[in-house]
């Protein structure tokens, strides 16, 4: 029996094999898994090659990056040999891959700590911020896009498009400063910088690194509310930019569906507009939307540099930018690798969700 390598073919051939369906299903699954693992491994290897090349191609002396420029020749030569820079490039690459696999991303010259330690501190802060931003982005962007599509050409549509346009044209740091001026300085509703007030520093033992989660686990509600108070402004501003994008995309996906014949049929059958929109049209844009949301989340992780700077949010964006500015090559390589891996995970997760949402991809 021949089994096609792609998932759908495998399923079909298994369905026709009435005598002995189980082994071939297992084989198909195994092949699919092997294919998936191979694809992930290849992507990771490519990513590693890219970061390695980045470290070697940048006009930056890896020895000076560790020792500082005022180094004697003896120390320079010693570190040069210790780093294995005298060995062939492929050997250096293998050493690099080996170290990464052991969780060794080197030491940051700007913070003096292991890059892994730094990343474990800054990355949760960024994920937390991005999660809030995504919540805002999806929570407002999707309904806004749908309403705009359904009420096309009306005032609602105009307002939705205006919000989208503003999100694309207003500089984020300006909006952030205005929000600070209004909601922090004038109204006194929200905090201005960092993840938590200084008085609450160190009250919660970090378990996950996500302060909101850690505070909740610790049942320290003072810290929880304070942390929530800190994340609202940066999270909302960051989220606003995804509202703009998500609502615009939702609107155009919906418009496309609403002009399809099945919608007209559903309407002719006498279904309520709500049923037509949610049960029929929306169901068909879920996969497209998921792609947009997954990409937005990835973008929020490394694209929050300005927001993180204005709100002094100790996240990955600030860390990576500082690393680039200070020629801290280990930080740049480590952060880029981290972002790459997260994108890979997001891709895998959205692939898995496609299968649930869209029967054709099973």
């Amino acid at each position: 029996m021949t089994v096609s390598t792609n998932g759908r073919g495998a399923m079909l051939s298994a369905d026709h094999d009435f005598d002995d369906p189980e082994p071939s299903r297992v084989a198909a699954l195994a092949r699919r898994l092997t294919g998936r693992v191979a694809a992930i491994a290849t992507t990771l290897l490519g990513l590693l090659a890219l970061t390695f090349a980045m470290g070697r191609l940048l006009p930056n002396d890896p020895v000076i990056a560790i020792t500082g420029p005022e180094v004697s020749k003896e120390v320079y030569d010693r570190v040069f040999l210790e780093l294995g820079l005298d060995r062939p490039v492929w050997e250096q690459f293998l050493t690099y891959v080996g170290k990464v696999l052991q969780g060794d991303l080197g030491v940051s010259t700007t913070t003096g700590q292991k890059v892994v330690t730094d990343l474990l501190m800054v990355f949760p802060a960024t994920v937390e911020l991005a999660a809030v931003a995504l919540l805002v982005g999806v929570g407002l962007g999707v309904p806004l896009g749908i309403v705009a599509a359904v009420k096309r050409g009306t005032v609602v549509d105009l307002v939705a498009r205006l919000i989208g346009l503003a999100g694309h044209s207003i500089p984020s740091f300006w909006l952030a400063l205005m929000a600070l001026l209004f909601f922090y300085a004038k109204l006194d509703w929200f905090a201005a910088s960092g993840r938590v007030d200084v008085f609450y520093e160190g009250l919660v033992t970090p378990v996950t690194g996500f302060l909101l989660l850690d505070a909740a686990l610790d049942r320290n509600w003072d810290v929880f509310w304070n942390a929530l108070n800190h994340i609202v402004l940066p999270g909302t501003i960051l989220g606003y930019y995804s509202v703009a994008y998500i609502s615009r995309m939702t609107r155009s996906f919906m418009l496309e569906q609403l002009s399809q014949e099945y919608v007209v049929t559903a309407q002719a059958k006498g279904l309520l507009p709500r049923q037509v929109i949610w049960r029929h049209a929306f169901k068909n844009i879920r996969v497209q939307l998921l792609t947009i949301i997954a990409l937005t989340f990835g973008g929020l992780l490394d694209g929050a540099v300005l927001i993180e700077t204005v709100f002094a949010w100790p996240g990955l964006g600030q860390y990576l930018t500082r690393g680039i500015q200070m020629n801290d090559i280990n930080v740049v390589m480590g952060s880029v690798l981290m972002i790459g891996v997260v994108f890979l995970i997001i891709n895998l997760a959205s692939d898995a969700l496609y299968r649930i949402l869209d029967p054709r991809t099973r």
Partner: protein, 529 residues
Amino acid sequence: MTRHMIAAALLASVSAFASVDALAESPPNMLVIGTNIGGIRTLDPAANNARTVSELISNAYDNLVQTKPASIDKLEPMLATEWSVSDGGKTITMKLRQDATFSSGNPVTAEDAAWSIQRIIKMGQVGSTDLALWGFTEENVDKLVRAQDAHTLVIELPIEVNTDLVLASLAGSSVGIVDKKTALEHEANGDFGSGWLAANTAGSGPFVLSQLRPNNIAMFDARKDYWGGAPAMQRVAVMHIPESGNLRLQMEKGDVDVGHYVSSGDLEALSKNPDMAIDSVPGLGFYYIALNTKDPDLQKPEVRRAFQHAFDWKAIQDNIMKYLGSPWQSMVPKGMIGAPADPLNRHTYDPEMAKKLLADAGYPDGLKKTLNPSSDATLPIAEALQASARAAGIELNLVPGEFTPAFRERKFEVLVGNSGARLPDPFAVATQYAYNPDNRDEARLGSYYLWRVSQQNEDLNKLVDQSMRESDAGKRADLFKQMDDIYSKMDPGLVIFFQRSDPYVMRKNVQGYAGHTTWSTRWHDVTKK
């Protein structure tokens, strides 16, 4: 029904949220400093000399001697209660106080002091640049710097040097006295405990580090058992707030008490606020244009001279530079021995003259170069230079970013930067601006600015050496005058325009916070009304 319940829940959570009283002013026994701690790699005194980190170290570690912000040329006791110079200026003997303890509880002994100096030299990091000048090496330092008894420290000098300079150098933040026992308990691979001291403190100062998170916060707790008395501030929180606009808002609301690195525009606005005081502390350094003479165009003296007349510095002295510096064009800082009376006519803005000089050098159609600021702090000045140089026929392609590392490695064309020094003597500035013992790339003498621009002058080297040895104030003044004369005539790669000052913004209820010229600002006497 469900919808109503959701709405009610939402409303309840929003109202609960708004009632969180998180934004109270900072408490009366806690000092909150808003600054930029982005560049802090380690809190080990031996590996530091930059501005913000010097302040942090100076509060966790005591020095043997100190200078007060109001009188930086007067040496005062700290861990050493008295000292004497003998043996024809070759030996310094210091008596240490007996009641000082480290935060670990260990007593401060002469052995700790000797070891702290020895480790600075042996580690060979930036801190050593202040002490290696006096002839100490890895080989001789154990013999020359030693404990005579538990509370007597002896420092023998291997070369002839003005002992006032040596004593003053002991007040620098790099020479904070480290708890030898504690540091060695955490030593790894013969690092003198440096790895551990990066994120921990082991000093006898009035504060001890309780928390350090890079790019976020450094928290210090007061020591009730400090030999100089418990500080009024029980905690000091040093917050990383890199965005000046945000820092300004937090200062205005009282969430932050002291602000560093506030931008010119925000300083101007804060100066009009009756709750704020701005202390512009004169610094031991300058704002300058650096011209890399390794570049074939900038190698030509006429081109460098053209730059002297291509910068309209008067246009920025009352706005961008109002709190950051005062006009100055000599390599000897204002108010110090040997300083000229009024050196403000050396580099006048004259685009026509600059154009003529460029034409003489073979660039009748002008010149194109890449311009970098040393960091974000000098970007506005670089922008001003770019604009005024255009009128002088110099097209500068401005690339912003953090370029101090590139500058230290001679990898730049034109750069706008600023400098500072820890030793309150013109000699310290002269070593940066006029001294370069080895101009080869391999020498890697990044701490000498003249090396960074690849210039060398044997006469200047000799004069700087002499000024280090000479003890007579009159003769020293003359040496500095001679240096200034040679320097101003050699079309230097470092064109000085302003003498630096460091603005500290404080809320008026903060008393006793006095910015120090050498950045060793201490919090011990700070109180809040």
